[in-house]
Symmetry: C2
Subunit: 330 residues, 2 copies
């Protein structure tokens, strides 16, 4: 900036004014400065700028998800990024792998860089470490799951109702031996979906047979193996409810052609309607989740200090056929 000032024959303050588009600079002076800027290829150091402008923030937000490679979070991330871009913000991203330690590391790195806000898919771990940054002005919004004991805006979907609807569908089609295959039970969404599964059974006066419930599935292969085990039971399931897309894929790996087990899954899959029979799912909208979270965050950043809100978006039950098997009803 000093160099530009020297070349343009003005003071650094004038360069600052021109570069920041402030009024009150004579047109020909501004032109001289702009020419010097171009000649030197000067670009302002925004970190230094934000250091001085204490009240204006850094125009940077952090997005912390479970796994950025998961298409669900990728869609969410894109949606957050679009909202941020629209407002002139940039986005730092990090994946936690659902490990509280990595979550802490990532968030610490973000707050050390003075992010104005944080959109967080929280792990099971405590979040006391957020208190201090929040007091210092960092706004926080949780998405996909709430954080235990953290009073912040939270955007989720009706996991329990969605799962209940799906399992009810299986019951409606004559299934009574319905398996639940889920990810780690300590993940809030998974516990909710399991609760929905149990609720649907309870609605019909059926007990939940522990032998048909598997938690902690984290891969296609592991799910495939779990399904194979269930088939060895004396009284095997005739239907399976899968609690996320990865687990649905694992189950599909293990059902025959044509399938010998009915399947309904949480989360839609790109080719779901193309399977034989087409896949019935509970579908959620990651773009809406991300967009809503971003809008909440930015309204907080812009000064909204009302009580924390909790937004629950609706899932959609998409009936395509896979829940009616083995072709006993139609």
């Amino acid at each position: 900036m000093k160099d530009v000032a020297r070349v343009a024959g003005v003071s650094p303050m004038t360069v600052s004014r021109v570069v920041s588009g402030e009024a009150g600079v004579a047109p020909d002076t501004a032109a001289r400065v702009e020419q010097a800027v171009r000649r030197l290829g000067y670009q302002r150091n925004d970190n230094a700028r934000h250091l001085r402008q204490k009240d204006l923030g850094t125009s940077t937000i952090g997005l912390v998800v479970d796994d950025l490679a998961n298409p669900f979070y990728a869609l969410m991330a894109r949606s957050v990024e679009d909202e941020a871009h629209r407002r002139g913000y940039v986005v730092l991203v990090g994946s936690t792998n659902d490990e509280p330690r990595r979550e802490r590391e990532v968030i610490a790195a973000f707050t050390a860089r003075q992010v104005d806000g944080l959109i967080l898919v929280p792990t099971i771990g405590g979040h006391g470490f957020l208190k201090q940054p929040m007091r210092a002005g960092t706004r926080v919004v949780c998405v996909d799951r709430p954080a235990r004991g953290l009073a912040v805006d939270t955007v989720t979907v009706d996991n329990r109702a969605g799962a209940r609807r799906a399992v009810t569908h299986l019951l409606d089609h004559g299934h009574t031996r319905i398996a639940y295959l889920g990810d780690r039970y300590d993940i809030w969404t998974q516990a909710e979906r399991h609760a929905g599964y149990v609720a649907a059974l309870t609605d019909r006066g059926l007990p939940s047979d522990p032998a048909l419930v598997r938690h902690g599935l984290r891969s296609r292969e592991g799910t495939h193996a779990a399904l194979a085990e269930l088939r060895e039971l004396a009284d095997p399931p005739t239907a399976v409810f899968t609690s996320n897309d990865l687990i649905t894929l694992g189950v599909l790996d293990g059902v025959g052609h044509p399938p010998d087990v009915a399947v309904v899954g949480f989360d839609d899959l790109p080719l779901g309607e193309r399977l034989d029979p087409p896949l019935t799912v509970v579908s959620q909208d990651p773009v809406a989740l991300g967009g809503t979270a971003a809008n909440l965050l930015f309204s907080r950043i812009e000064g909204d200090s009302s009580a924390p809100r909790s937004v629950i978006l609706l899932t959609r039950f998409v009936e395509r056929g896979s829940g009616r098997l083995p072709g006993r009803n139609l």
Copy 2:
């Protein structure tokens, strides 16, 4: 930091030393400082730190992709993030939508924040604006596509050979009317894949019929419509080569049950093996692309100033059946 110093009864300089883990502080002094840090919940402002430490960089890199919501780039992003996290770096992400203007905006926002490096899926636009930041020390690596006229490390896959292999497979199974359905031709990967398509035909002495070639497809719906048009031809195609995952999905939307057209696509799909018949694809490895790009970038950041390298990763041809239809060979 001043507050911590006051509480601990030392100078800010001593706090700085303790917080940065520098040697030469008496153990009991350090203990007093650490206690004050905890009591006040102090966290260092890394932006201010990096402002002063000119030579150490900001430990921040930027990742600029076409579309973060695309599973391919999401996997790449996760891979880059893992490498960055391992080294104590954080990652700014941005999507360009393949619009040169948005690419410029995103990159400008990143360089203004003094990123140490940039991993870039370049748009078709010029990249002269990178010259200045590069002179100022920002390292740049291109991934998925090269940037015209930008001499930097570049990681791509053998798009042309992969496409040629796929189309050859269709020819081997008796198809001679093979359509090409692709995204915008000005995207380097798409032009390469089209060239591979043409090369495979030429290998057999066949001309490329312009009536069977469609560029610029950007959605499932648009692709579906394009396929419908091709079917209206007097001499319609018996096979289709699709140049990316989205286009493959669009074509699958439009083929019958069972399919009346053979399909081979670039990029694998999660349920591809589960279709009837299973989907034959040219598969590339986004995790390897991202990891390789990140490793190149970090070795540059760590001082490697050898001539720019070009790394070409191999695609894998995954034959599953959909290219053999309509069941005339086996």
